[in-house]
Symmetry: D2
Subunit: 367 residues, 4 copies
C-alpha cells in the first residue's frame, strides 16, 4: 500500500434511512483513521448539512463504538431535496444556487474528499457535484435493492427478513380464520422485496411492478385454493405494483374503490379480492417497520465492506465512482452508470421461475 | 389424586387467534390422556363447530407434537357469532335456536365435558351453555389482557414484545429523520399493550382508552422535546383511545380530518399533530402482526398451565368456572364473575405513575 | 408530592450483568432529574468504584438516551469482592478497611443518597454500609430470579426467553438425529430458569437444585419415549442441580466420569445418559449467552419501575430498603429481610405440578 | 417445457441437519407434483433408509404444508456412514455390500430418480451410486459453506445470523466486566462463519483454519486495546482453527494446557490468552445452536430454488449433477467436481482485507 498524505474527508448519509448506515460510517472511520491516519468529519442531515452553517462533527473511533448493530444513521438522513426537483422521467431540474453553496461550503471546510452514502437521488446530486469538481466517492443505499451496477445493497436483507417474519406471523392468523391477508411491502419501482419475501414466507400470490397483474387472476388463485380445502391465502404486494387490464378486470360494474379514498395498493387489492371472491380480507402495511431495526449479519458485513472500500477508492483517487458488489467481489463503478437505470427484476429471473414452480401466482399474463 | 372414570372431553377455541392457543390445546391433551387416561376431541371453528355437522377430530399426544412454539390454533377460531348479537352495552341478544342446537350436538357427541378457550364473547356463550346444563370449563384468552379476575392472559406478552420491538425499529427512523411517528397498537377497550409497550419502547406520549386525552397536550410534548433538541417523538396510541375536549383542541377552525376518511385513531392523531406542530408525521398500524408469531416463553408457560388446570378443574367438577392466574397461583373463578366487567388500567396503577415519572405524557387532565 | 430539596445521589451496579441494568439507570436519571431536579452521578465498576479514586460521571438525561434496549451496564459491573469473603453458609467475613474507605469516599463525594443495583452479595454489602450510616436504597438484580421478598427480578425473563429459543433450536437437531440433547442453563441455587424454559421449550426431563434427581429415572424417561417411537429427548439441567442416590445410580461399576475432568453438570448428565441408554447425546452449555442481549419488554418495564421506585424511596427516606414487586404492586422491603434467604422453587409450586401433568420427568423421588 | 412422463422420485437428506432442509423437501414436492404431476417419496434417515426395510413415506403437498419456516428435516438425517470409512485424505473406503444393497432397494422401490440433499460425504456416496447407474441429482448442504462450485449453501446464513447475534449478546457482558470472551463457532475446515460473524459482530480477533495463527499476536491485540482503554475483547475462533508457531508462542515454559483435558480450540485459546495477558477470559461454544432454528429469508429462498432446480434437472436428465448457485444464477455442476476440493477462504479474499481494514487481527504472519 502506497503512503498517502494525511487527509480530511467528509461523510454524509442522504435519503431514507436503511439498516447498515451506521455500519458504513463506522467502517469509514475505522479504515480512514486506523489504516491511513486521516481525519473524518460527519455532515449532518445529508446534503442539507452542506447548505447551512450546521455543526460539523469530527468522528473518531470512539464516536463509532457500538454502532455496528444499530439501525438508522447517527448523522441523520433527509430527503428534503433543496438541490432541485426530480421530474417524472427521473431528471433533476437543478437549483444551481444550492450546488454552488455546497461547493463553497466543501472548500470552506477544507475537505480533501467526500463520501456520499445514498440512494439514486443522492447519487445523482453527488454526480453533479463531482462534475463541478468535488472529489466524491459514492456508497449505494437502497432498501429496495434497485440500484444498478451492484448485485446487493445493504438494508435489503434486513427489510426482507422482517417482511418474511411478518408473513410468518400473518400465516397463523390467516389459517386460523380462513382469511385472505394482503401484505403490502416496500418496492416503489421494483419487486425484489415482494418476490423474495413472498417466496420465503410461502405466499400464494405475489404482485410486483415488473409483472402487470390482473386481479381476476389473483382472485382465481384464492378460489382454487379454497376449492381444495386451503381456505386461507396470503397475497404479497409491492407498494409500486400496478394492475393491468383494469377495465375488464376490476373497474367494471361499479368499479373498484378509488385509491384516493382507500390508501395504497394493498387496500385496492384487498377490497377487490373481497368483491371477487366473497372472502374476508385483511390488509397489513409493513411500511416504516421495514426500515428500522438492527441490520442482519449480511447487511452489517456488506456495509462494512462498502465503508472500507470507499476509503480505498479515495486513496486510489477513484472519484466520481461508487463502490459496488459484483460477482462476489467489491469494486467500483462510475456513479453516472449506476444512476442511468434501475435494477428491476428481469422477466427471465430465476426467482420468477422458482415462484411459479412452487405454485405461486404472479397474476400476470403467463399465470 | 382420586381415581376418575374415563371421560371424553371436547375442546374449542373461540374468537380471534392468540399466540398460545396451540399450547393450551397441547397441554389439555397431554394432561387428559397422560394423567387421567381420558379421550379428547377437538371442535373446529369455535362454537360454530357445534352448530354444523362439521368433522370432530380426535386429538392424541401425537397430534399435538411440535405445537408449543406455533402460533394460531389448529382447531381454527371464528368470531362469526351465530349465537347472538352483542349489544352496545355488552349484552348478548341470544339466538335461542343456536344454543339448543349446541346442546343437542354436545349430547350427540357423547361428551362428558367441554373446555372453551375464548375471550369475553366466547366465555359469555360458555356461561349460558353451562346454565343450560353443559359441563363447561373456561380458559381466558385475550391479547388485550382485559379479562377480569385473572392477572394475566396468554398472548398478551407476545403482542407486547412485538409492539416493543416495532417501537425500537421505528425509533431509528424517527430519529434519523426528525419525525413524529404514531404507532397504533391493539387495545379496543383497555390500554395495557399501549402503556406497557410505550414504557418498554421509550415512547414520549402514550394515549389509552382509560385516560381521555387532549391532542393539544400531545402536541405540546412534541414541541417541548423539539425545543430542547430532541427533534423526533414517538406516540403510542391504543386503537380504542379517544380524544376528550375535542371542541377546543382539534375540531376547531376547519376541524380535524374525519375518521371515515382517514381510518383509525392513529391517522387522526397523526394528522392533528402535523396540524398543531407543523412537523412531519408517519403512522404505523401494527394490526394483525400483534396476533401472530411464536408465543414468548412466558405465554407458553401460562398457556400450558391453563391447559392442565382446565383438566384438573374438570376432574374436580368445577364446571361454570374459568381457570385464572392470580397472585402467582393458578386457580379458578366463576365465569360469570369474569365476564361481568373488563379489567381496565386503574387510574392509580403504578404503571401510570412510572410513565409520568419517566417523563412520558398521557396527554390527559393531569399531564 | 411534597417538595424535596435538591439532592445529589449516586448509583452503582454490582455483581454480574443482567439485561435491564441500563434501563434502571435510565429510569433513575429521568425520575431524579425530571421529577425532583436532583443530580445523579454514576460510580463505575460497582462498589470497587468507591474504593479507588476512579472517575465519577455525572449522568444527565442526554447520557441515558437510547439505553432502554441495550444490555449490560454503562457503569460496568464487577464481582471482585474486595469487601470481604463470603463463607460457605453465606455470611461475609468483612474487610473492615474497605467498608471504612467506602464511607469516606461517599462523604467526600458529598452524596445525599446511594442506589445500589445488585444481587445478594451486593445487597449484603449495601446493608452493612446502611448500618454504618450510608443512606442506601437497593434494587434487586438476579437473572436466576432467586432474591426473596420480590416476585420478579429484571433480566430473568430475557434469560428465560433466550433459553427457550435455544431449546427450540435444539429440538430440530435432536429430532432429525434421534439424539438426546442436554441443555445446561443458569441457576446456581434455584431452578427457575430450568423449570420455566423446560416447560416453555417442551423438555422431556428437567433437573433442578430443589429436586434431587436420580439419573436412572432420567434415563428411564428417555427409554420410555424411545419405546413409543419418540427417539429423541431434551433434558434441561440447571447448573446447580445435583444428583441424589448416586451410589446406586451412577457411581457403580466403574463410576461416572469425574466432574473435574468433564466440566459442569451438563457433561455429567450426558455421559451417564449415554452409559445408561446407549443413545447418542450432545451437551450445550448456554452460559453467558443468557446474560446478554436486549431486555424483553417485560424486563424493560420492570427495570424502569424499579428505577423510578428507587428515587421515590429516597424522596420518602426509606433507606435500608430495597424496591420490590409483589402482588402486582411496586413497593419496598428491608434489605436485610431480602438477603436472609433465597427464593427457591417450592415443592408445591404449581409449576412443578404442571410439569408433571405435561409428562415431564423431574427424575426425583416422586417421578 | 416439454412434456415428461409421470415419474416416481425419491428424496433423502444426509449428514448433519441444516436450516432449510425442510424447505428443499417442500419445494421438491411442490414442483414435482404441481408442475410435472410426478410422485415423490421420502427415504428416512439418509442413505441408511435405503439399507433397511424402513418405511417409505409418500410426500404430497399436504405433507409439506407449513414446512418453510421449520428447521431440521422431516425425513431425518444421519451421518452413521454404513457406506464406508472416510480416510484422512478424504477418500471413502467403500463398503461394497452397502452400495449394492442401496442399488437393489432403489430398483425394488421402482424409483425413476433420486434427489440427495447432503454435504460432501453424502455427495460422494451419491456420485458412486450414480456411477453404478442410479439416476441421482444432488443438492449441496453445508452450514460451513465449504462445498465447492457453488457460491452459497442454505443454512449458512442462518448459522451466521445466530453467531452474530450471539456475539452481540456477549459484547455487553464483556464490556460490563472488562473481560475477554472467546466464541467458538462452526467451521471444521473453513473460516466462513468465523470470518463473517466476526466482522458482523465486531470481533477484535478472528482465528480461522485458512490463516494459521500465533496466540502471542492475539494476546498482543488484546493488550493493545487495553492500553487505549478498551478493556474488553471478543475473539471469534472457528472450531477447526489451528495455532502455528506453537513452540515459541504457547508451548514454552510449562506448556499450554492439553486439548485432551480442556476440550476444543476455544478452551485452548482462552486459557492461553489468560496466561499471556493476565486478563479474565470466558469461553462460549455455540455448537449445535448454530444448526437449529427457523431458516432466514435468504436460506428459505435458496433452499426453495435448489428444490425446484433439482426437479428441473431430473426433467432434463442431468443425472450425476448437483444444483448450484453461481454468479446469481441457479445452475448445475457435476457432483464429482464439487466434491473434488473444499471451498476455503482465499488468502486474497476481500473479506480478509476488510477485516484488517477494520482493525481486526487474524493473528497470522501478516498481522
Amino acid at each position: 500500500m502506497k503512503a498517502t498524505a494525511p487527509k480530511k474527508i467528509g461523510v454524509l448519509t442522504g435519503g431514507g434511512d436503511a439498516p447498515g448506515l451506521n455500519a458504513v460510517i463506522r467502517a469509514i472511520v475505522k479504515a480512514a483513521t486506523g489504516r491511513y491516519g486521516w481525519e473524518v468529519v460527519g455532515i449532518e442531515e445529508g446534503f442539507e448539512g452542506l447548505l447551512h452553517e450546521s455543526p460539523i462533527r469530527r468522528l473518531t473511533p470512539d464516536d463509532v463504538r457500538g454502532l455496528l448493530p444499530r439501525g438508522g444513521s447517527i448523522l441523520g438522513c433527509t430527503n428534503k431535496g433543496h438541490f432541485g426537483i426530480q421530474t417524472s422521467d427521473g431528471r433533476i431540474i437543478k437549483d444551481e444556487s444550492a450546488f454552488s453553496e455546497a461547493m463553497r461550503r466543501f472548500n470552506e471546510l477544507d475537505l480533501d474528499a467526500m463520501v456520499v452514502v445514498g440512494g439514486e437521488g443522492s447519487l445523482r446530486i453527488a454526480w453533479e457535484l463531482y462534475r463541478m469538481g468535488m472529489p466524491i466517492v459514492g456508497v449505494p443505499k437502497t432498501i429496495d435493492n434497485d440500484i444498478a451496477e451492484t448485485d446487493l445493497t445493504f438494508g435489503f436483507y434486513t427489510a426482507l427478513q422482517f417482511a418474511t417474519e411478518a408473513i410468518d406471523r400473518l400465516h397463523t392468523t390467516a389459517e386460523s380464520h380462513n382469511r385472505v391477508i394482503v401484505v403490502e411491502v416496500m418496492g416503489r419501482h421494483t419487486g425484489w422485496i415482494a418476490l423474495e419475501s413472498g417466496i420465503a414466507g410461502g405466499a400464494d400470490v405475489i404482485l410486483i411492478p415488473e409483472v402487470p397483474f390482473y386481479l381476476g387472476k389473483a382472485a382465481a388463485k384464492v378460489m382454487e385454493r379454497d376449492a381444495r380445502g386451503c381456505r386461507f391465502s396470503i397475497i404479497v404486494v409491492a407498494e409500486g405494483a400496478a394492475a393491468s387490464g383494469g377495465a375488464e378486470v376490476y373497474l367494471e360494474a361499479g368499479g373498484m374503490d378509488r385509491p384516493a379514498r382507500l390508501g395504497g395498493i394493498g387496500e385496492i387489492v384487498a377490497s377487490n379480492i373481497t368483491r371477487l371472491t366473497g372472502k374476508e380480507t385483511r390488509v397489513v402495511v409493513l411500511g416504516h417497520l421495514q426500515r428500522g431495526g438492527s441490520p442482519t449479519a449480511l447487511d452489517r458485513t456488506l456495509a462494512s465492506c462498502y465503508g472500507t472500500a470507499a476509503i480505498t477508492a479515495i486513496a486510489e483517487g477513484k472519484f466520481g465512482h461508487m463502490v459496488a458488489y459484483r460477482n462476489r467481489e467489491i469494486g467500483t463503478v462510475e456513479i453516472e452508470l449506476a444512476v442511468s437505470r434501475l435494477k428491476v427484476v428481469p422477466a427471465n429471473s430465476y426467482l420468477i421461475g422458482v415462484a411459479r414452480d412452487l405454485g405461486i401466482s404472479l397474476a400476470g399474463e403467463q399465470d
